[in-house]
């Protein structure tokens, strides 16, 4: 059988070993300016602490080898710069290059966090403006920019809640977490010293408000909600949910991972949320970079303000200052003052949009609904309430022929896309979680829809093709079970490597592997 894959086509892709395998004594890739002071004698200066030889087995290569090595590696990656990356709740939007430029400016990249504050007013102004912008977007009353990532934001938020409740006389014992929640939520609650009680979602995938009413006692410190939920559906009853919690003295924490559905349209602060984190590497365009860095600012209502982690940004007459002494603060959550370089990028993004940030949110929701409309019927839609910025299908229809969400995801790679999120949220068995973001053109959305329809057709008529995908990547499906059973977590020259030796371009191998079914179009 044949079909047309419109987006992607095969191209020569070079092999590359580990940098250690290219190493040879005496090669250098970097030179320093000459020493302008008398040379110290390390053996004399350090005594028994002296590391006599260089770092054992450290690579020794030339500059061009470094450039080629990492350039070749980079060509093995998919990226937003190449096309749609429909991972649900990750918000894989365009990472504007001006953000990279401003983060690298002299006077921005060069600043030391412990330098005198009178020489850091530029940095502090940036922090202040970002604080104000994020408060405006979230509708909250106070904020901290310290946390290094969403998970650390969640921890900070729960520690704020704990401190507040402690001040009231009782920190309480448990935190309620929906079964649809991201794994960081329960993991964080435990680190904050709380027991986790899971609350089962109701038949539409939303918070079960009746069940919540039963569960909220004076032992409950908070509910951690994601809104829109991890199904991409707005929790319409959130004001009621907030009331139930507040009536018993508990607080509402919102995981802000899905803010891309709300920015400029609605504000969590108006909905009754007491405290929330934002993921700047999601909603606010800072690059994912293969897994980070990110930033997880925490915005809150006034009642939690006294407990904010230090340092606190304050306005004095004519200047800004960071204050480190705050008696009620939960303390420091990270050294220095947050992932400043990430904060700079997020502010650059906000400044580029201004009040027009609403348009980005509208386009994100438009794209998700467009995709949902075209794929409804082709894929099972377990929860039919309106989708916002993401849509969650299931593999129920394809499962009939033995094809599951992971198989479909792997086949999607052959069509030139990165897979969507598989197997999450947990409340949808065989989930396909798709979030296009506003960065996708109609053209890219149409290509994605065509690809998904084609794969559904393949699943029904040639299941094995899908189950053995991907076919066109430089490596086939990788053995994850074997990797965990016998972990090899570093290069070790004393351990023989029995895998196939990588030569430059395995042309013969490529010909042998060309599946007849995959016909690239012109």
């Amino acid at each position: 059988m044949s079909h047309k894959i419109k987006k992607a086509t095969r191209h020569t892709n070079q092999n590359e070993g580990l940098i250690f395998e290219k190493s040879s004594p005496g090669k250098r890739a970097f030179e320093l300016p000459p020493l302008d002071v008398p040379a110290a004698d390390p053996a004399k200066a350090l005594g028994p602490n002296h590391r006599g030889e260089g770092v054992k087995d450290f690579p020794e290569v030339s500059e061009i080898e470094v450039i080629r090595h990492f350039t070749r590696l980079s060509t093995w990656n998919y990226a937003i710069d190449l096309g749609m990356y429909p991972l649900g709740s990750c918000t894989m939007k365009y990472n504007p290059r001006v953000n990279e430029f401003v983060a690298r400016l002299d006077g921005i990249a060069t600043e030391h966090p412990l330098q005198p504050q009178e020489l850091s007013q530029g940095c502090l102004k940036i922090l202040k403006l970002l604080e104000n912008c994020l408060l405006e977007i979230t509708g909250m009353e106070a904020i901290t920019l310290q946390p290094a990532a969403g998970a650390q934001g969640e921890l900070t938020g729960l520690l704020l809640i704990r401190a507040y409740l402690e001040k009231q006389g009782n920190p309480r014992k448990k935190v309620l977490v929906p079964d649809s929640a991201h794994g960081t939520n329960p993991a964080t609650a435990v680190i904050a010293g709380y027991d986790v009680e899971n609350i089962k979602s109701e038949s539409h995938g939303q918070i079960d408000v009746d069940k919540l009413r039963e569960l909220v006692t004076e032992d409950v410190a908070a509910l951690m909600i994601t809104n829109p939920s991890t199904l991409g559906i707005f929790e319409e009853r959130i004001p009621e949910i907030a009331e139930i919690l507040h009536a018993k003295g508990a607080l509402l924490y919102m995981d802000g991972a899905n803010m891309n559905a709300l920015a400029g349209i609605a504000r969590p602060g108006d909905l009754g949320v007491d405290v929330m984190h934002l993921n700047l590497h999601k909603t606010f365009s800072t690059p994912h970079g293969g897994g980070g860095p990110g930033a997880g600012p925490v915005a809150m209502k006034k009642i939690l303000e006294p407990f904010r982690p230090t340092p606190i940004l304050v306005e004095k007459t004519g200047h800004l200052a960071l204050e480190h002494v705050r008696p009620q603060s939960i303390g420091k959550v990270k050294a220095f003052s947050g992932n400043f370089g990430v904060l700079v990028r997020a502010l650059a993004y906000i400044l580029a949009y201004g009040p027009g940030i609403r348009q980005a949110t509208e386009d994100a929701v438009l794209n998700a609904n467009y995709i949902r409309k075209h794929l409804e019927g082709t894929f099972d839609l377990p929860y039919s309430l309106p989708s916002m910025h993401e849509v969650v299908f299931s593999d129920a229809l394809q499962k009939r022929n033995g094809v599951n969400t992971m198989d479909i995801a792997k086949r999607l790679i052959d069509y030139g896309f990165h897979p969507y999120t598989t197997a999450f949220p947990l409340i949808v068995p065989g989930a396909l979680m798709i979030e296009p973001t506003e960065s996708e053109s109609k053209e890219e959305c149409d290509l994605f829809i065509d690809a998904m329809k084609s794969i559904a057709h393949e699943a029904a008529t040639d299941a094995n093709l899908v189950k053995t995908a991907p076919h066109t990547t430089r490596v086939r499906r990788l053995d994850e079970v074997g990797a965990a059973r016998n972990p090899i977590l570093r290069w070790d020259p004393s351990r023989p490597d029995k895998t196939t030796v990588q030569k430059k371009a395995d042309v013969a191998e490529a010909r042998h592997r060309e599946p007849a079914q995959v016909t690239p179009t012109a």
Partner: protein, 449 residues
């Protein structure tokens, strides 16, 4: 708007395909009273040039152009432009966590190389794919030691970076851990007698930084026996990774937590940096964070995947070893490229320049009347000096000469108010050091205000 690839006509087409008359219909699930009727009050929209202008104006009133002698956990080191040429490639910059291994082998192999380099540097057997920074890596190392030993008492050297101790305190409060401080001796390193007296069979972790906050090198090999005798684990924290070019790695320690900022990352007013967590193979299942492992595909070709994920939050949820999800991957890539560029000889030479310039600075500064070396322990590129008057006042004078002087220790160490921490790296010129010495001498000659 330049980031949005839609024409008005396309938006209409798509709405029609959905069957909606306007975009507002797609937000109907938000109760009407919560839908904003007005635009948010935000600055902008700015064109690209205006965005750049905004940040250039902020940059102009910061410290760039001053000569700095600050270290204390953040270090000015040479960085090759090659690093940015690599990490700015869209395939690295705009890629995601490599959960789908077949399409992210670039990231995965680079992480595998990072893990390897960190083991080589620290003398440990396994390292993870990064933590957020040195302060949280140190904290997670302590939590890991607690999990391994099942004990709740933690002894922390007073010479561990004050901000790292603060972060540990924040986390420890809610983990049922009791943290106590071990005083330092007159040589500026951990007082081993005090350590011995504090060690009982309820201590899970002993945390020592080396080179420590005062710049002194701690005798890790000697400490480890004392620590192990009580059944505790030794956690070594490293804030200046370049030291490992010349200083023996803490191979005997059970867990190493390191800040990798020195490996090609700009100071950037405190972040993003990169935390390193390294340990023994036998403890790997208690490690937090991501791990990349080598494996094969269906054709027997070598490839790499994230592995041992049952430790992590997305699998184990409330029973995970940590809540960490997003880490510092691009920073770890930068460190990998940087260290590959430096190589064995380059790192050693860089370390040697640091050591030489610091020795030169110490000699010059202690020749100034009244300026004394505080501690006797060997040091790498940071050392502490005592001034005859407040370090703050001296620094105030130095600022007039566009010098950011050494860090006054008083705020974090009330017993050391006349002392300051001097940091010298390979980026500090001989001329800079001589200017510092002259500046301090001049400042000390001023009449006391």
């Amino acid at each position: 708007m330049r980031y949005l690839p839609k024409s008005p006509a396309e938006r209409q087409e798509m709405l029609a395909a959905i069957g909606a008359k306007s975009i507002d219909e797609l937000f109907a699930s938000i109760p009407e009273r919560f839908r904003l009727k007005q635009a948010l009050k935000l600055p902008g929209p700015f064109s690209e040039a205006e965005v750049i202008q905004y940040f250039k104006e902020r940059a102009a009133v910061n410290a760039f152009g001053y000569t700095s002698f600050l270290g204390a956990g953040v270090y000015n080191h040479l960085r090759s432009v090659v690093t940015d040429a690599i990490i700015q490639r869209g395939e690295f910059l705009t890629s995601y966590t490599p959960y789908q291994a077949e399409i992210t082998q670039g990231t995965l192999q680079a992480i595998f190389e990072f893990q390897t380099l960190m083991c080589q540097l620290t003398g440990q057997q396994v390292a993870n794919a990064s933590m957020w920074d040195g302060s949280t890596a140190t904290t997670e190392a302590v939590l890991m030691a607690e999990r391994i030993t099942g004990r709740t008492r933690v002894l922390v050297a007073r010479t561990l970076h004050p901000e790292y101790r603060d972060v540990l305190t924040t986390y420890a409060k809610n983990s049922g851990l009791h943290v106590e401080e071990i005083a330092y001796g007159s040589d500026g390193t951990l007082d081993q007698n005090i350590l011995k007296s504090m060690l009982k069979d309820d201590v899970g972790a002993v945390v020592v930084q080396s080179p420590n906050f005062f710049g002194g090198i701690e005798p890790i090999a000697a400490l480890v026996d004392v620590v192990h005798a009580s059944g505790a684990l030794l956690v070594t924290s490293i804030t200046e990774g370049v030291s490992l070019g010349l200083v023996k790695p803490p191979a005997e320690a059970d867990i190493v937590a390191m800040e990798g900022q020195s490996f090609g990352l700009a100071p950037s007013y405190g972040g993003p940096f990169v935390g390193v967590l390294a340990s023994r193979d036998k403890f790997v299942r208690q490690m937090p964070g991501r791990l990349t492992g080598q494996t094969i595909d269906t054709d027997g070709r070598r490839g790499f995947v994230l592995t041992l994920a049952t430790r992590e939050q997305h699998i184990r949820r409330e029973k995970a070893t940590s809540n960490i999800c997003t880490n510092q991957a691009l920073c770890a890539l930068a460190a990998t490229v940087h260290l590959t560029l430096l190589g064995k000889e380059g790192l050693r030479e860089m370390a040697h320049q640091n050591l030489s310039k610091a020795q030169f600075a110490l000699d010059l500064l202690t020749k100034i009347p009244g300026v004394k070396r505080t501690f006797t322990a060997p040091f790498f590129n940071e050392f502490t000096i005592e001034l005859p008057r407040s370090a703050r006042m001296v620094n105030h004078e130095l600022l007039k000469e566009k010098i950011v002087g050494p860090l006054p220790l008083g705020p974090s160490y009330p017993e050391l108010t006349k002392h300051a921490l001097v940091c010298v790296t390979e980026t500090t010129t001989r001329d800079d050091i001589e200017r510092l010495a002259k500046g301090i001498a001049r400042a000390l000659e001023q009449p006391v205000q």
